[in-house]
């Protein structure tokens, strides 16, 4: 309950900060909208229409009032409802991020455990070296390389784009997702792997594993029965951060594969000084970050009962 209150409070603070941040940006949206040759009257008319001639507090009250009704305003440029646009874009970004995350987990968890348990063998070391390489590769370059290989040389998959009808055209939409998902999951797996490996190494050096082994429990059993829960706690909080930052970082990958997602919406909105859109995307993103953090917290408590007791006594 206390966590929920903090969640709501953080969201309110985020709304205020976002609002102020965007109003402090130099550059007039009316100017950006009309171009260089606009007359004074045209600019004044555009300002009145956009509401950007109102005093700051009036704009803010309007913003918060609309938020309470789940209304994020309308775009300065396209005049479409921001929330609808975000919903459309979400249908690209959400599956992209979630699928990438799941594939990354499938790659990183087993490999990370192997890299820790067999850290002295050549393949254990090789996994660590490859992951070291992986965290040095920028996601957009990996994307370009994969496009060069799979789309241009092998002609197996599309190099980018997304069907206009979206997921209604399921076959085309899912093939368009393959390369972006692979790209995201590889980069994410490289950094996740390091956390899983570090957590497993911690567990391996712990007293309870040694005790369990001394009592005759086999090594795999000790690792699974006693190690998993303990190792999972720090990893889960990292998972939350990684998932959130991948969601927000999708802007680059969407550019590489020309996907109409939330990131490309933000990039365009920034370039066009479309405040309601920038504000809307950032607000929804912050909401996602907070929700993911909240979920990771709950999950940790579920895994480790000691965390539950600690908050109860405090």
């Amino acid at each position: 309950m206390r966590r929920l209150a903090i969640l709501v409070l953080s969201l309110l603070i985020a709304a205020v900060v976002l609002f102020l941040l965007l109003r402090l940006l130099p550059g007039d949206p009316a100017n950006a909208l009309l171009g260089v040759g606009a007359t004074e009257q045209q600019i004044a008319a555009a300002r009145a229409q956009l509401g950007s001639d109102q005093p700051l507090y009036a704009q803010f009250l309007g913003f918060v009032g609309n938020l309470a009704r789940f209304d994020l305003g309308t775009s300065f440029v396209s005049r479409a409802a921001v929330l609808d646009e975000i919903g459309n874009r979400m249908s690209v970004t959400l599956p992209l991020t979630l699928l990438g995350f799941i594939v990354a987990l499938i790659i990183a968890v087993p490999l990370g455990i192997v890299a820790a348990v067999r850290s002295t063998r050549w393949y254990g070391a090789a996994i660590s070296v490859v992951s070291q390489l992986g965290i040095a590769i920028p996601v957009f370059w990996l994307g370009i390389l994969l496009v060069t290989l799979f789309a241009i040389n092998l002609r197996l998959l599309p190099s980018g784009g997304f069907p206009l009808k979206g997921w209604a055209n399921f076959g085309e939409a899912s093939t368009a997702m393959v390369l972006p998902v692979i790209t995201i999951s590889l980069v994410m797996a490289a950094s996740l792997l390091r956390y899983v490996r570090a957590a497993t190494l911690d567990v391996l050096g712990s007293d309870y594993i040694r005790t369990a082994r001394a009592l005759g429990v086999s090594f795999p059993e000790a690792l699974i029965r006693h190690g998993m829960r303990n190792g999972a706690v720090p990893v889960v909080s990292i998972l939350g951060i990684e998932l959130a930052s991948t969601f927000l970082g999708a802007v680059v990958i969407e550019r590489v594969f020309s996907l109409p997602g939330l990131g490309s919406m933000l990039l365009l909105a920034i370039q066009q000084r479309d405040y309601p859109n920038v504000q809307g995307v950032l607000f929804v993103s912050t909401l996602m970050v907070l929700l993911i953090g909240f979920a990771a917290d709950l999950l940790q408590r579920l895994i480790d009962p000691r965390l539950r007791d600690r908050t109860r006594t405090s």
Partner: protein, 284 residues
């Protein structure tokens, strides 16, 4: 994030510690040498059209030419200089802001500190790149300075978080209590007791921030929000080459290799540095 992990990760390669450090120094050293060289000399005029369009690598143009016939190797070499400037500048700005904020938070009242920690936890989840994008947008004009500033601001959240945690840990120790009871001012405590103690871990973190900044700068330039020409950023080179990847694949590969080699070099350097500055790790 990467930073905390790499500091927290147990290091099992102590026998190769020095090798790691030297490999890192060598890789970064090559980039520094190339970057410095481009200040006084480059194979060709960076903006001169010295060959045909999109030529393949040859003895005249080792990495071929770009779509305007400019020598590609020259641009990649200048890219080293840009990446080093941005990395160093951003890491320095991030360090100054981050360490100051982190120290202040650690000394602040509980309520302020809690609020600060909660804010940082949210900020950390925002990728460096996204924060930098917004700062660049706010700066209105895209130039090298605004990119460095933006990345520095974005990195400062990571540094502040680390500084705060490290400082709070040191503050619990007995010799701080001793210093306090003997009347040392809090500034004295910061400079005489805290900074020297947290410096080793922080310096490793700064090296890693440099790598993060180099990648984020390339991404910014790739998105068209970085330094404008004639600053040949690797990100912009990759963005331009993506359109011609079918006819001239080298353009989409070479700048990436340059970037990755610099980042790996920095990461190795940080790893090696961590082993050599932290005696407890060396002994393990």
């Amino acid at each position: 994030m990467t930073t905390l992990d790499q500091i927290a990760a147990p290091n099992r390669r102590r026998r190769f510690g020095s090798l790691t450090l030297w490999a890192g120094i060598a890789l970064v050293g090559i980039h520094i040498a190339v970057g410095l060289l481009t200040v006084v000399w480059s194979p060709y005029d960076p903006s001169g059209m010295t060959g045909g369009r999109l030529e393949a690598p040859s003895w005249l143009h080792w990495a071929g030419t770009d779509r305007l016939g400019r020598d590609f190797l020259t641009q990649i070499m200048i890219g080293s200089r840009i990446a080093l400037i941005v990395g160093t500048g951003a890491a320095a700005i991030g360090a100054i802001i981050g360490v100051t904020l982190g120290l202040l938070a650690a000394f602040a009242t509980k309520l302020l500190d809690d609020a600060f920690a909660a804010t940082l936890d949210i900020l950390i989840a925002f990728p460096t790149l996204l924060i930098a994008m917004l700062v660049v947008a706010a700066a209105d004009t895209a130039n090298l300075g605004s990119a460095i500033f933006a990345l520095g601001i974005a990195l400062s959240a990571i540094v502040a978080r680390l500084t705060r945690i490290l400082t709070k840990r040191v503050l619990l120790l007995d010799y701080i209590t001793a210093a306090r009871t003997s009347g040392t001012s809090w500034l004295g405590i910061v400079f005489r007791h805290i900074l020297p103690n947290i410096w080793p871990t922080l310096s490793v973190s700064f090296a890693l921030q440099f790598g993060l900044a180099a990648i984020a700068e390339a991404s910014l330039s790739y998105l068209g929000l970085g330094a404008p020409p004639p600053n040949a950023s690797w990100g912009r080179l990759l963005q331009e080459a993506q359109g011609t990847v079918y006819t001239a694949p080298i353009g989409a590969i070479a700048p990436g290799i340059a970037l990755v080699s610099l980042v790996i070099g920095i990461n190795l350097l940080a790893d090696g540095l961590r082993d050599s500055v932290d005696p407890t790790r060396r002994a393990r």
